[in-house]
């Protein structure tokens, strides 16, 4: 029991405290790749602390939905952090939900975020909501087909079980379906977490904002919660990509040594993916909104190919 509480606490700490670091890391690497010095990796912590110390200013037009959303968003991310196998395949609360539950928790957050965008009655917020929902809806089929591919390989939809079976499968990376599913899921992760080429987290140009447009009316601790939740979402998606597709180092048994190895492996894998994202964001420009369906249907095709390849080698 004590061990289990400890594992879940560590998971919460990794996601909660790691998220700003991850955001800072991506920014720093991106700056370096673009020939700038960039701010310290720890800058996001300072930003969040600054926001916490500020008074929240709210639009008179808003309702309780606007104030409730930041808390719900953080709650869904923390709950996701409890479900995802970060270090071990014996996540104590893993029984609460499988991979589909996880995707619906994210959708719950997106749903309320989009409502909050409409709440202040500004055109920017509405635009952000509309676009956010369009991207979420169009990404959904790819998410599920990628999940089909994963479930076909593992014969299971439980997160722990998928990782465990992957870890014991030595020919994993030689399976074409596995790599196709990874690519599809990676593109979806970019769309879901609002990274380039789908959305630019660094923009404040009104007409291209999506996530930033929704957050425009937020300030103080509410803005801090929204930013923190966005960081946690990125971390959870990268951790999912790492452990579902490259399950090396994940502890199959709960021993201190195995957990330590798992932590180092997680940091290395997520770090590599973060560098990859920074490189990608340096290399590509943001796509026009109406070019996005092409990108997402491309990732859908990849996921479907993955399913087909698993069906044939079954």
């Amino acid at each position: 029991m004590l061990i289990q509480i400890l594992i879940e606490t560590i998971q919460l700490l990794i996601v909660g405290l790691g998220a700003p670091f991850l955001v800072g890391l991506v920014r720093r690497v991106k700056a370096r790749l673009q020939g700038r010095r960039g701010a310290s990796v720890l800058q996001p912590y300072a930003d969040l602390r600054k926001l916490l110390a500020k008074e929240a200013v709210e639009s008179e037009t808003t309702s309780w939905i606007f104030r409730f959303t930041p808390y719900l968003l953080v709650a869904t991310m923390l709950l996701s952090a409890l479900l995802v196998p970060l270090l071990t395949t014996q996540t104590p609360l893993g029984f609460i939900g499988n991979i589909i539950v996880l995707m619906y928790l994210f959708l719950l957050g997106t749903f309320f975020l989009a409502l909050a965008g409409l709440d202040a009655g500004s055109a920017f917020g509405g635009m952000g909501s509309s676009r956010e929902m369009a991207i979420a809806a169009l990404a959904e089929p790819t998410v599920m087909i990628a999940i089909v591919a994963i479930a076909l390989r593992a014969g299971n939809t439980g997160l722990d079980e998928i990782v465990r079976r992957g870890a014991t499968d030595s020919l994993l990376l030689l399976t074409p379906g596995h790599l196709l599913a990874f690519m599809a899921f990676f593109i979806v992760a970019l769309a879901e977490t609002g990274r380039l080429p789908v959305d630019n987290p660094a923009t404040h140009l009104e007409l291209t904002m999506i996530h930033e447009a929704i957050a425009l009316e937020y300030s103080g601790r509410h803005l801090m919660l929204i930013e923190w939740a966005a960081g946690m979402k990125l971390l959870i998606f990268l951790a999912l990509l790492s452990n579902l597709f490259f399950p090396w180092g994940v502890a199959l048994t709960v021993t201190p040594a195995a957990l330590a190895v798992a932590f180092v492996a997680l940091v290395a894998k997520v770090g590599t993916l973060a560098v990859g994202i920074a490189a990608l964001e340096t290399a590509v420009a943001k796509l026009r909104l109406f070019r996005l369906p092409a990108l997402l249907s491309g990732s859908f095709a990849l996921a479907l190919l993955a399913v087909i390849s698993f069906l044939f080698v079954k």
């Binding site: 008074e55 639009s59 953080v74 409502l115 635009m127 509309s130 929902m133 087909i308």
Partner: protein, 679 residues
Amino acid sequence: MTIAPGETVTLNLLLLTLGGFGAGAVGAVLAAHRPRVSRWAGHAGALIGAMATFALGVAGLTGGTLDVMLPTILPVGGLSLGMDRLSAFFVLVIAVAAVPSAVYAITYTHAYEGKSSLAGMGLGFNAFLAGMVLVVLARNVLTFLVMWETMSLASYFLVMTEAEHRDTQDAGWIYLVMTHAGFACLLIGFLVMAHGTDTMNLSEWRAASATLSGPMRHAVFVLLALGFGAKAGVVPLHVWLPKAHPAAPSHVSAMMSGVMIKLGIYGLIRIGFDWLGVGASWWGGAILVVAAVSAVLGVLYALVESDLKCLLAYSSVENIGIILLGVGAGMLFQSYHLDTLASLALVASLCHTLNHAIFKPLLFMGAGAVVHATGTRNTEEMGGLIKRMPQTAVYFLVGSVAIAALPPFNGFISEWLMFQSLLLSFRISATGTNLLFALSIAALALTSGLAAACFVKAFGITFLALPRSEHAAQAREVPWMMRGAMGLLAIACLVLGVAPTAFLRLLDATAADLTGAHADLRFNWNVIVANDAFAAVSPLWIAVALVLLLALVPVVLRVIGANVGWRTYETWGCGRALQTSRFEYTATAFANPFKRVFSLLYRPVKELDIQFHPDSRFFVETITYRNEARSIFEEALYGPMSRLVQWVAHRARVLQSGNVSLYLLYILVALVVLLALAG
């Protein structure tokens, strides 16, 4: 009349049900000249009947049976009623929506006093409810068809309540035509089946269906599927639904969208799993394809709709599609002899049927409350209602989250089960079928994403931001009985979303009666485990954890010394002087990205008409912008069909000369031909 022993409880409940509806109908008519009394009597009777219906459904689901045979009431076999678990389940579905609808109607119909006949509404509503209950209890062909027609006609008259509007007349006409085209298919299908199996008794059909020849079975399946599909509102037979449901008073819309179309599902489950035995694999495949198309197209049309009740009606087409995904999948599993999986798919399907019968009436009542308060159905004229109607807003929000299948509400449970049953299709070893299932998973995923977007729009544009019209600015919260009815349904959404296990057990028993095998579902006290740990979810823990974390975050913020002060200021708007609702995003603007992405389907009509000031092109006097989606089904499918019918009717006029002796000759010829055929 024969009564089997041990059926006295169910029989008494049935009598109480019919007594309640009967008393309501009679009371409403007797008090016709006093609208207030008529309104109360009619709907109080309906409420008593609906509560008895609820008890009857519960009794039936927990094993109670019913067998009533009244030979003298109807010709050809008499009035025959019976109840198995499937019937009992649908009785429960009717009751779950009927109880709050009746409560809601008592105050809601107040607005119709002096405008429409409340006696007619009371009579129609009770006949409608009684007809639906008796359809699912019918045990022979004639009882079924008579009750089916009662239900259809009663609902037609209810749709025509506001017959003075041109739209209502059109809606009523299309509804009447479509429902009778469907009825014709059912009639022919039933007669062919009765002829082939040599029995009018529905409960004997399963055993007798083996004697049916192959082509005849296929023909019966197609006919009945068309008839039931038209009632369920599957694409492309859905055209009546988005017209008729919004035209009716909101408590009737709630019953039609929440329950009546489910009787089409009832029929499809009967032909897929009961009356015709285990079917050919193309049957299930066809249902699966139609279901996926209905789900996606239904939600896409809902998304671009700015009439709130129309949006909800289209979303019913979507949900019928989701329910039928489970029915089609179950039929396919059955034809591959995977009975446990068939049961799982059927459980998902039944679960969504009940869930939709809870949140759709909730949403229709919410829409009714909004219409009541603002006098318009157009979302472009709403906004800001969350501050003027706070309780209605919360209930509508619960309905929206539930229908978007998000945890911790009931829609999530059924959609989760649906995904698991579709995912398990890889147990079928036929690559083509596997691919079909994979595509239907994609369709379901797209549907659920689009549904979330659709209800962000429905709730956000209606209730949030500033009011977009004077009506919306003047809106007041609705009376307590209407709020109470919605509250009841909202609580049901939460309870079934947090603690569904006891209920799923009953659904499993229902499915097992039809397929002969239990679904591989294991329930701990709060965890649902499907198919040997293939998938697990704990709805209770999701809810508890969310609540705990929601409480934890503000506490932690205080502990670490966050600034908890706040003040209000106006919305940032690039420095403009004042904020008006004209700066807000509209429903049309919200749907625009979808309109552009799916323009192939919508084929939108766009018109932009700018009147410039006569002196300068830089000053604009008026801008008229119209951007509407066209219905390709009405244009491409029903247009030619109705032209063909008109052409035939025109030709047939030659026969009607108006000459009586010629008509007598027709009768003689018809008689001779019939005698010759019979001989």
